[in-house]
Symmetry: none
Subunit: 127 residues, 4 copies
DNA sequence: GTGGTCTAGACCACG
DNA sequence: GTGGTCTAGACCACC
C-alpha cells in the first residue's frame, strides 16, 4: 500500500509518515486501528526496520499514534483532529508556491483550473 | 538584497539560485546584466565563496547566466524564457499540495481566497 | 482496584507490583491475606496471565508474599517491614529530583508547599 | 564532561539530553554556543555517533538547540526559558514521589531535611 | 511476537 | 569538517 520514491530528496521515513497520515486522513486507518508491525512493514517494503521505527517514533511524537512496547502501534483517538489542524496550516506553503507561480507569469485562469481539477480528482476518488 | 534562511532544509546555494532567478523574473536583472562577483557576494552574505560558486555554476548550467572567466557572470538572452517555462512546470507541485489540502478538508472557498490573495499581493508589489 | 497505564514506560508487571505493595503499606492487604488468583486478576485487568505471574513471582522473591502452588499467594508476615525499609531507600530518588528542580530555579517555598500538600493529601485519605 | 551510566534503565541518548540540558540550565552552555560535534562527542564518550545524533535531534525538536547541516548544533535563544518551563512542570513528578514516601511512613522531618540538603548542595555548587 | 535501543559502518549534501 | 539518512545486524524487556 505504501510507495517509496528513493529518488526523492525527502527521506524515506518522512515518506512513510506522510502516507500513513494520509491513510488516517482519508479513513483507511481509524482511531484504535493497529498499524503494521515495524518488522512486517520493513519486510513488505524491503526497508531496514530502523527506518520504519524512526517513522513510527515520529508519528508517536506527533500524537498521531501511540506505540506500546510488546503490543504494537495504534492510531490515537485525536489523530484525525491533529492532522486536519496541521494540514490546514499548510496554507502558508500554498501562498509561497502561488507567489512563485504568479511571478513566473502563470495566469489566474490556469491556477483556478488547477484548483478545480484538484477538487474534482479528490471528490471523485472519495465517491 | 538576498536573504538566506539557515534553518531551512533547502541548501544555501539553492536559496541563492532561486532568489537570483526571481530577480530575473521580476525584471531586477535583465539580459546582459552582470551579477555581483562571487567574492563580493560571499562577503556581503558572509557565506563561503564555494557556495556562491556552486550557485553560479548551476545558473550557468541551466542557461540562465553565462560566466566568463575573469569577467563575471551575465544574465543570458533567453533567461526569462527559460525561467517562465521551468516555473510553469511547478503546476505539478501545486497539484500535489492542493490534493493534500483537499484531503485535509480545506474548503474550496478558502483556497480560492488564498489564490486571490496571492494575485493581489504580487500585482500590488509589481505596481 | 488496580489501574494500568499502558502509555507509561514502567512495565505493566512493575505497575502491578507497586500497586499491590501500596495496598500492603496502607493496610488494604494485611499479613496472611490472600491475593487475587493469577487467572482472576488477568481477566479483571484483561492482561496476559504471564504478566501477572511475573509480578507475583517478583513479589515472592522480594519476600512480600509467598505463593503456594495450587493454593494461591499470601502476604508475608514481615511484608510491611520490608516495604518500609525499601521505600525509605527512595530518599535517594527524591534527592535526584530535588536537585533538578533546584537547578531549574524552583524556589524553596514552592517545594515546601508541595511537601505540605503531599502530607495533607495522604493523611486526609488515611482518615 | 558527560557521564553515562550504562546500567541505568534510562537510555543513553536520554542521559546525554538531560546532561546537556543541565549544562544549559546552570549556564555552562549559553544561547548561541556550539555543542560538540556529533563525531567528536561520540569519540569522547566512545559511543556510537548515531546515539549522539539521536540525542541532538531530540534537543532540536524540543527547541533547546538548532542544528544546521554542515555547520553544527547551537543552543537556541529561548533554550533556558523552555527548560525552566519544562522542569517546573516536574512538580507533578515530585508530588508522586512524595506520596509514595509518605505512604511508606517517612516522616515530615526527614523529607524537609532532605529538601534542605538539596538546596545546600546546589547553592554550594553554584558559588 | 512486539516496540525500543544500540553498534558498526557506510553514504550524502553541504560548507 | 558538519549534520542527516540508511543499512545490517544485534540485544533487550515485555507480552
Amino acid at each position: 500500500m505504501i510507495n517509496i520514491n528513493y529518488m526523492s530528496r525527502t527521506p524515506v521515513y518522512e515518506q512513510i509518515i506522510e502516507q500513513i497520515e494520509n491513510f488516517v486522513l482519508v479513513g483507511v486507518y481509524k482511531s484504535g486501528d493497529k498499524l503494521p508491525s515495524v518488522r512486517s512493514l520493513s519486510i513488505e517494503l524491503s526497508i531496514n526496520p530502523n527506518t520504519i521505527q524512526k517513522a513510527y517514533s515520529e508519528l508517536d511524537r506527533k500524537g498521531i499514534t501511540s506505540s506500546v512496547p510488546g503490543r504494537g502501534s495504534f492510531v490515537s483517538d485525536n489523530a484525525l483532529g491533529i492532522l486536519k489542524e496541521n494540514n490546514r496550516s499548510r496554507l502558508d506553503e500554498l501562498m509561497g508556491l502561488l507567489s512563485k507561480l504568479v511571478i513566473a507569469g502563470v495566469s489566474y485562469a490556469e491556477i483556478i483550473s488547477c484548483v478545480d481539477d484538484a477538487f474534482k480528482y479528490c471528490t471523485d476518488k472519495a465517491e
